[in-house]
C-alpha cells in the first residue's frame, strides 16, 4: 500500500546528523521546505524521512567576528534585512534575497536552503505523470537529455539567487558531517553535473555562511525573469569589485553550477565578458531561449560594469 512516510523535527545539529546517519533509507533535511515540498508534490523528491532542521536555534544566528559576518544557514531570507551589518555592507545580498520567490515564501525560506535549492529545468520541474509522458531524461534516470535533444550531460539550471552574490563576495561555508567540521569556499560544493549538482556528503549540514568583512567592496546584482517577482532566474549576475582592485563575476541560471570569472581593475572588460560567456553551458530549458540568455549576459555585465564605474 501507500508507503510509510516519516517526519522528525531535529532538536540539534547532532540530533539531525544522528537521524540522518541512522535513516538507512532516503531522507531529506528540511529547512524552510519551500523547495523540498514542491519537489515532493511533483514526485521529484521521494525521500521517506523528512528531518526538519528549521527549529534548531543555533542555525539561525547572525553574528560577526573581526574578520567575517557569519550567517546561520537557517536564517530566513526575510530576516536578513533586520541585521545591521548586512543592511549596511551587503545590501546586494538583500537584493538577491529579495529576488527569491515571493514575499510570503521568503518568510519561510532560508539562506542555507537557497544555496542548495535543486537545479531546475523545464523538463524536470514537472509532475511524475508529465515526465512519464515526455519520456524520462537523465535527471529522472532516463537515457538522454531532452532539453538538448540527446546530450549525455545534464545542464539543469543552477538557480540560487543568493549563491551567486555570496560567491562574488568570496563567501565560505561551514559544513558539519560525521567526519567533522570543515570550512570551504561556497563555489566548491557545486559540481556542474546537473543530475548531481552538489558534492556535499549525503548527511552534511551547512551550519553557516561566512562573508569576509575586511574587503571593502561594491557589488551589482541582476536577475532576468519574466515577472518582477515569483519567478526563478533565467540568468543572474553578481559582480563585486573590491578595494584592492579585484573583480569577481558570478553567473547563475546559465550552467548546472555557478559560473565564476575573476579579474582585476584594468582588465579588458570585453574579454571578461567573453570569458564569462564561454564558460556557460546554456541549453533550451528555460522560458527564455538559449541565445537570448546568452546575449543578456553581455548586457547585464556591461550594465554592472557601468554601475561600478569600470567603463
Amino acid at each position: 500500500m501507500i508507503l510509510a512516510k516519516t517526519y522528525i523535527k531535529a532538536t540539534s545539529v547532532g540530533h539531525a546528523l544522528a537521524l540522518a546517519n541512522e535513516s538507512g533509507g532516503s531522507f531529506r533535511y528540511l529547512a524552510g521546505g519551500t523547495d523540498v515540498m514542491v519537489n515532493k508534490f511533483q514526485g521529484n523528491d521521494e525521500a521517506d524521512l523528512l528531518i526538519d532542521i528549521s527549529d534548531i536555534e543555533s542555525l539561525k544566528d547572525i553574528s560577526s567576528t573581526d574578520s567575517h559576518l557569519i550567517i546561520g544557514a537557517s536564517a530566513c531570507l526575510d530576516d536578513l534585512k533586520k541585521n545591521q551589518i548586512i543592511a549596511l555592507h551587503f545590501s546586494i545580498l538583500l537584493e538577491a534575497a529579495n529576488a527569491v520567490a515571493s514575499p510570503t515564501i521568503r518568510k519561510t525560506a532560508t539562506i542555507g536552503g537557497n544555496l542548495l535549492c535543486e537545479n531546475r529545468c523545464t523538463f524536470y520541474n514537472q509532475s511524475a505523470w508529465w515526465r512519464e509522458a515526455a519520456g524520462h531524461c537523465l535527471k529522472c534516470n532516463g537515457p538522454t537529455c531532452l532539453a538538448s535533444g540527446g546530450n549525455k550531460n545534464c545542464f539543469s539550471k543552477f538557480v540560487s539567487d543568493t549563491a551567486v552574490v555570496l560567491i562574488s563576495l568570496n563567501a565560505t561555508i561551514e559544513v558539519i558531517d560525521s567526519e567533522g567540521i570543515s570550512i570551504i569556499p561556497l563555489e566548491n560544493i557545486y559540481t556542474g553535473d546537473g543530475v548531481n549538482p552538489r558534492q556535499l556528503s549525503k548527511t552534511a549540514i551547512i551550519r553557516s555562511i561566512q562573508i569576509p568583512l575586511l574587503e571593502d567592496s561594491i557589488s551589482v546584482f541582476k536577475k532576468l525573469r519574466k515577472r518582477e517577482t515569483l519567478d526563478f532566474t533565467s540568468l543572474s549576475t553578481a559582480v563585486t569589485l573590491r578595494k584592492n582592485g579585484k573583480l569577481r563575476i558570478a553567473l547563475g541560471g546559465v550552467h548546472a553550477k555557478p559560473v565564476i570569472v575573476d579579474g582585476s581593475i584594468g582588465d579588458d572588460l570585453n574579454a571578461l565578458i567573453s570569458q564569462s560567456v564561454s564558460k556557460t553551458r546554456i541549453i533550451d530549458n528555460d522560458t527564455y531561449s538559449k541565445s537570448y540568455r546568452k546575449e543578456m549576459i553581455t548586457v547585464f555585465l556591461k550594465r554592472s560594469f557601468e554601475v561600478l564605474k569600470l567603463s
Binding site: 508534490f41 509532475s127 517577482t229 519567478d231 546575449e295
Partner: protein, 939 residues
Amino acid sequence: MQQISLKINGRQYHLLVDDHEMLSHVIREKVGLTGTKVGCEQGSCGACTVLMNGKAVLSCITPAMRCDNAEITTIEALAKDGKLHKLQEKFVEKGAIQCGFCTPGMVMTALSLTPTLTKEKGEDSFLFQIKEGLSGNLCRCTGYKKIIEAVVEYASEYTDKEQINEIEVITKQTLKGAVGVPRPYIEAEKKVRGAAEYADDIMAKNALHCKFLRSIHSHALIEDIDFQDALNLQGVHYIATGKELPVKFGVLPISQDETAIAIEKVRYIGEIVAAVAADTEEIAVAACKLIKVKYKPIKAFLSIDDSLNDVGENEKIHTYGKFNNNIHKKAELRFGDQPQGISEADVTGKMSFEFDGINHGFTEPHAATASWDENGLTIITATQVPHYLHRALAKVMEVPLSSVRVVKPYLGGGFGGKSDPFPHEIIVAHLARKTGRPIKVRLSREEVFLTNHGRHPSRMTVEMGISKDGILKVLDADIAIDGGAYGSFGVVTSYYNGVLLQAPYKLNNFGFRTYRVYTNKPQCGAMRGHGAVNSRFAVESLIDDLAFQIKMDPCELRMNNFLDSNTLTVGQYRITSNGSRESLEKVMEQSEWKKRIGKLKKGKGIGVACGFFISGSALPIIWNELPQSVVHLKLDFDGRVLITSGSSDIGQGSDTMLAIIVSEVLGIGLDKIFVLAADTLLTPVDFGSYSSRVTFMVGNAAKDAAENLKKEIIEALAKQQDINSEELNFTDNRIFSYDKKIDLSWLEVVDILTANRGAVSVSGKYISPKLGGDFKGAGAGLSPSYSFGAVVAEVDVDTETGYVKVTNIWGAHDCGKAINPLAVEGQLEGSWHMGLGQAVSEQMKYYKGLLFNNNFLDYKIPTSLDTPDIHANIIETIDPEGPFGAKEAGEGAIHPVIPAIANAVFNAVGVRITKLPINVEDILAKMKENRLLSEKMNG
C-alpha cells in the same frame, strides 16, 4: 501517522496527521475550515496563506507536523463578535472582492504585511511596498487595483489614526441606493469571512473520491486497459473506462464529439483514460498508478499546417467530415466588394499574425460532487452554465431532464473556462450512480491546464486599405485557429474571429475566411472576449500601421471611421447606442494623448486601440423557443422578495445586479431582497454566464419580473381605493402618490397584497428581438446591443533587453449604464489586467503536444508588481433596450488593451508586434533590422 496538537483560531486540536501531510489539507479536510483556499498546491498562488505563530505561511507547502504546538490563524478568525476586521471591511467597501477565491489568502498576506510598512520614504515607496508585499498572491479577477486600494487605506489608517472618521462617512454613503450607486457585492462579506462555500468546500457525508488516469500519448489507439490490480487495492470501489459512457456530448449541438472517457483512442496528452472511485484521494492516486494501458501511438497532428493538410494514409483525429484532413470548420462571409475596396484605397497594408493559446487562469480549480437519490442526480459543481450541463448530463446518463439537478455554489472565476460540460462532471455522476455513494472530484492545477478550453492559438493574415484622407475602404481577413482535440465552442469561435470585425468602424467592403482545425492537444474554447480578441489585435495593429503610413494621428483616424449610433453594420448588426467616440475622447484626454504623441523619447511609447463586443448572443446555443432568461420573484407576508434565477454568478457580480434592479423597481432596500440562483431544480432556466449576456438579458428579465410585481401591487391597491397608477411612487420602502392620498409603508402594502391570497409569485422574461439578415452565418455575433471602448497604453521598452514594461493603462468602456459602477470598474480593471497578461507574458507552450507550463509558476499571470496603474472610465450611453440602459462590461474591454500595448511598443521603438505574447527576442531582432535599414538608407 502521528498526533499533533495545534491551536487553530484559539481552539486547541489534537489531530492524527500523516507525516507528510500539508497544513492546508489538515485545516480544510480535518478541521473543516474551508476559508483557506487551495489554488495550486505548489506555493505559487498564495490562496492558501494562513498565519503560523503570527507569520504568514503558505499552508500548501507547510508540513502539518511542523505545526505541532503552533498557533494557526485562518481567515475565519478575523471577524470578532460578529464584526468584520477593519481590513476585511476595506476589502468589502472597495470592491476588492470579485470571485473571492483569492480573497482569504490576500487578506491574510495583507494583514501580516501591514506592520512592516513604512511611510518614511514617501507615498510612492509605501505603495510599492504594498504591491511588492502582495506579489505572491495571484488574483485573476480584479487587476489588483481595488485590492491595493483596500490595503493602502487600511495600512494608512494603521499608521495614521486621524483618517478613520472621514473614511467611515464614505463607507455609509457608498452602501445605500440602487441603480448607479457603487456598492460591494451582496455576498462580499461572506466571501471575505471565508464562509462562502466553493465546490471543493462541500464535504458530502460518506463521499468517495475520484482521480483520473490520463493519457501520455497525443494520438494513440487504446489496445488494452488492465485495471485488475488497481481494483484489488484496498479502498478502491469502482474503476470506470470509456465504454461505460458511450454517449457523446459537447456544448454546441453541432459539435457533440467528446466522450467523458476516451474510447478506443486518445486524442491528446492528458485525456482521461480511466477513472477511479476510492475511499481517499491518496488511494485513488495509487490505484491510477496500477492501471496498465497498452497504447498504439499513431501520427499526431500538432500544428495548424499539419491539420490543414491531407492526412494521407494516417488516421484523422475525428472520422467525420467530407475531406481527408483535420479541418473542423470552414466559414466565409463577404459583404460589399473587396477588390473594389482595394482599388479605392490609396494605401493598403497586409500583415500576418501569430498568437499562442492562453488559459483562463481562474484561481479556483474545477471541483464537483455528485450524488443520486429518489429524484435522480444532484451535482454541485463549479460551472458557468448549469443549463447546458443539465442537458449534457441527462443525455449522457440517459435519464430524463427532470432527473438532473445542477447546483452552482460560489465560483472562483470562470472567464469562459467553466462554460462547457466537462468530462469530470459526467464521470462523477456516473461513478456516483455505480457506487451508490456521493463522489467528489477536484482537479489539480495541472489538470485544469490540461482541461483547458482556453483561447485558440491562431494565425491570420489581414489586409486593409485606406484613402489618403483616412477613410477605411476595405478589410479582408484570412484566419486559421487551432482547436485542439474537440469541438467545444469552436464553431462559434471561428465565426467570431471574422464577424466581430465589422464594427466599431464603418466598412463597406468586408470579408473573411476562417478555418478551425482539430489538433492533438487539449481543446480550446471560449475565453473572455471570445473569438475576436486575436483578430481585433490584428486589425488594430494594421490600422495603427496605416495611420503611420498616411501620417495621421491614429486616434484621429479612428474617429474618422467610427460607426454612428442607431445604424446597421455591413453584415446587418443593429447598432443602437454607441459610445466609441466618447470612449476614445476620454482616454485621449486622460493620457494627454495630443500633447505626448510623437514627442516621447526612444523607448517610451503610447498606443491606442478600440473595440466592441456583444451583450449576449441573440440566438441560443441550442435552438428552442424558450426565452433567453426567466426570473421569478416571490413576495411573502414578511415583505421579503425572493429572486430566483438560473443565472450563474461567477464572480462578476450578477446576483448583486439582480438585487439592485429589483430594488430599484420596487423601491425597497436590498435587505429585503434575497437572491437564489443557479440551481436547475429551484430556479427557472437561464442559459448561463457566457457571451456577456447576463446583465443585459437576465437583468431585463428581472426588471420585467419586478414590474410585474409592481402591477400586482397596484392592482391590489386599486381594489381598495381609486388610484391613478401613473402617480404612484415606489421609493424608500414606501408607496405613495404625490398628493399623499396614498402613503403606505412597504409592509402595509404587502399586507394588502397578500390578504386572502398569501405569497405572490410573478415571473419576468427576456426574449431577444428578431435581428439580422437572412444569409447563412447571419446569426453569428448578433446581439441586441453592443458595447464599445478604447484604451491608451503607455510602455517603457528597454532597448537592450527588449523588456516591455507597461506603465499605464487608460481605458474607457461604454457599458450603456453602470447598474453597479463598482462592479463595472472591477470588470474593466480585470479585463485590462488579463489583456496585459496575453500581451506580455502568457502563453501555452507545448513539447510534442505535451503542455510545458501547466502551473502558476510557469504560466505567467501578471502579479501585482507587473500590473501598471489602471485608470478605468465608465462611459454611459443609456442603451434603449438594456435594463436601465445597461450593456455588457465583462468581456469587451479586453479587446482594445492588447493592441494598444503593442501599438505603444511600435511608438516606443518602431517595432511592429505580430506575435503574442510579445517576445523580447523579436523586439531586439527587429530593432536591429530597423537600425540596419536606416543605416543603409542614410549611408
